[in-house]
């Protein structure tokens, strides 16, 4: 029992230890390699780090729950782009333009609803057909991206609203708007996963779907709600990001699904489901952003980021496997 707990702590702690290593490395390397006179660990820089983690972070938090369920959602990038288009395009509709700045909350609502509906479509298909979520969301990834191009054409959709930009750039208690959204999402989802029946069911389903069904958990609707949730979160991420940038390219959000999955896996969540933690995913997201930022800070080529993250990902999986194997051997004895 205590062994198991120790192993758990090791797994949860690993990502934060890794973050500390990164911080130490970039601080020291920055002294010699950076042309900037500012320290890497500068407080403002760390605040920026959190802010820059938000777009992929909010999605990755939702992805954690999907993956704890034993599913995956590859359509988040396309959902993100589509919600962004709804956000920016709706503000140019005459009806909304007439409302002045009150159009902003309405546009947000429409964008979030778009995300939730797109998620619900995924969830409904997974529930009613029983097809693997990987295949379903692979299809919807292509389908939603197709929709983006149909609505958007080949050109970017743009609407620059300075009120919105000022809101998005604001800092409340030192933290940027995007950071608040990231942290509040993390808090809400952490409470959900640790304090509610829905959260405990998510682990149960991921661990053993048969057993969960036998225990009377309604697996289909449960999964559907999680897909609605991640659709909503992908839209939330778009709302937060595009409030500040005001223009969406039709291929924005591509590969976001892979970065989100990477962050989740770095955080120690199992691809097979049943095990994972929201807080560790937050660590995974920060670790990725820290790498991007740090390698830029010391003047390394940007491509090295992908190489380094790839190597670390493999190392994490090996470590995870090693720890689990040890556990099983111990059980046999």
């Amino acid at each position: 029992m205590t062994r198991a707990r120790y192993r758990d702590a090791l797994k949860h702690g690993a990502i934060w230890a890794f973050i500390l290593v990164e911080l130490a490395f970039f601080s020291i390397a920055g002294e010699y390699l950076s042309v900037s006179d500012k320290a890497f660990m500068d407080f403002d820089n760390m605040l920026l780090l959190l802010k820059q983690s938000a777009p992929i972070g909010i999605i990755a938090l939702g992805m954690t729950i999907i993956m704890i369920n034993g599913n995956i959602d590859l359509s988040v990038g396309a959902t993100y782009a589509l919600s962004a288009i709804v956000l920016l395009d709706s503000m140019t509709w005459p009806a909304l333009q007439a409302m002045g700045d009150w159009a902003i909350p309405l546009a947000w609502g429409l964008a979030l609803m778009t995300g939730a509906v797109l998620g619900a479509i995924n969830g409904l298909i997974v529930w009613k057909t029983g097809v693997d979520a990987f295949i379903v969301t692979l299809g919807s990834m292509l389908g939603y991206r197709g929709l983006v191009f149909m609505i958007n054409g080949e050109q970017p959709t743009s609407h620059l609203n300075w009120t919105l930009v000022d809101f998005a750039e604001a800092q409340f208690l030192g933290l940027h708007t995007a950071t608040w959204f990231l942290l509040l999402t993390a808090l809400a989802l952490w409470l959900m996963m640790t304090r509610t029946v829905h959260g405990r069911n998510a682990y149960a389903i991921g661990n053993n779907r048969e057993a969960a069904v036998n225990a009377g958990i309604r697996v289909g609707p449960h999964m559907m709600w999680n897909f609605v949730l991640i659709g909503f979160l992908a839209a939330l991420s778009a709302v937060v990001f595009y409030s500040e940038s005001g223009s969406v390219n039709p291929n924005d959000g591509m590969l976001f699904e892979l970065w989100a999955v990477t962050a989740v896996v770095l955080g120690g969540t199992k691809l097979t489901g049943g095990y994972g933690s929201i807080i560790s995913t937050l660590g995974g997201v920060i670790a990725i952003q820290l790498l991007r930022k740090g390698l830029g800070h010391i003047g390394a080529a940007t491509e090295t980021v992908n190489l380094v993250i790839g190597l670390i990902l493999i190392a994490v999986l090996l470590l995870d496997r090693q720890l689990n194997r040890k556990g099983k051997e111990e059980l046999k004895i």
């Binding site: 900037s36 743009s158 005001g246």
Partner: protein
Amino acid sequence: MDKNEASILGGITLDKGAFASVRDTEGWEVACKRDKIIDGRNQRMKVTLKAALVCTTAMFATAAAAETMTIGITQNNVGVDSYQTTYERAFIAAAEANPDVEAVVLDAGGDVARQIAQMEDLIQQEVDAIIIWPTNGEAVIPAVRKAHNAGIPVIVTNSNIAEQGFDFVASFSGPDNITQGARAAEIMCDKFKDMGIEAEARVVQISGQPGYTTAIERQKGFDDRLPEVCPNVTLVETQPGDWNREKSQQVMEAFLVKYDDIDGVYAGDDNMGVGALNAAKAAGREGIIFVGATNFAVGYDAMAAGDYWGSIYQSPVDDAEAALKTAIDILNGEELPFLNYFDTPKITQDNMDEFTKPVF
């Protein structure tokens, strides 16, 4: 000798007395202040040593520009094509060749979110000027405003941002893409006139990556100019090739199936033009006039082989050097035109020997 020694001592030990004793040299004081030697908070060995070096250099060069400038650049997507790869190499080479410049070279990998983060990082690092090659001409405007508000001049390179952001930009350095598109239309029209088919020729267009200002402008220049010079030539259809040769080949294959009569193909750059040329060759269709809007080595070779008619000569080396020079000029307080274009001449099979083969 005395002053020299004192400045080194001053630099390392932060001895206020030593500072005072050499204050007579203007350039020295500026250089040292800029490196924040006097501000004891950030004192680190590297900084002080660097500053000391600057100070000593300044001693000999007196008030001349011995000031090191840190210039950050965030590029669009370096790995995606040879133009951007050569641009980056040329930029780094130009920055290294200039002893007064230290460059922070970043690449956004085509991702707007990453580019905005890089802008924020450069502002955070307090660079002296930022050069940006925008991934999206509108999405980066708030980030550019942020730099402007932080007192850092922003130079937009290669493709400009949207007009709403012009107030926050110090200068634009790059090719005039509308002129390039227009000149490509002229090349094509002149060729049709030589062939005597200007009354009935049909043209298809392969444009660049959607959402990219360069693509939009090269298309606009061509679309607007073609009816002016050749009013009877029809532009049948336009499809994006995403600056990608394979994609353009597929687009052209589709065009060839769809239209029996194609006399000319205009591509946003030679990379895409050669993709289209390959499709036409594979389908056995001859006599099509291919014109690009930026000359690449592949296009140059195809021109030499007589398969490809013409293009616009735009050197990424000129582009990168122009961007760096614009940034340096602005930091030196020189007056520059807002749109700081460098020239991009026409190149066809007839005059190609006047140009060296593009390195990219």
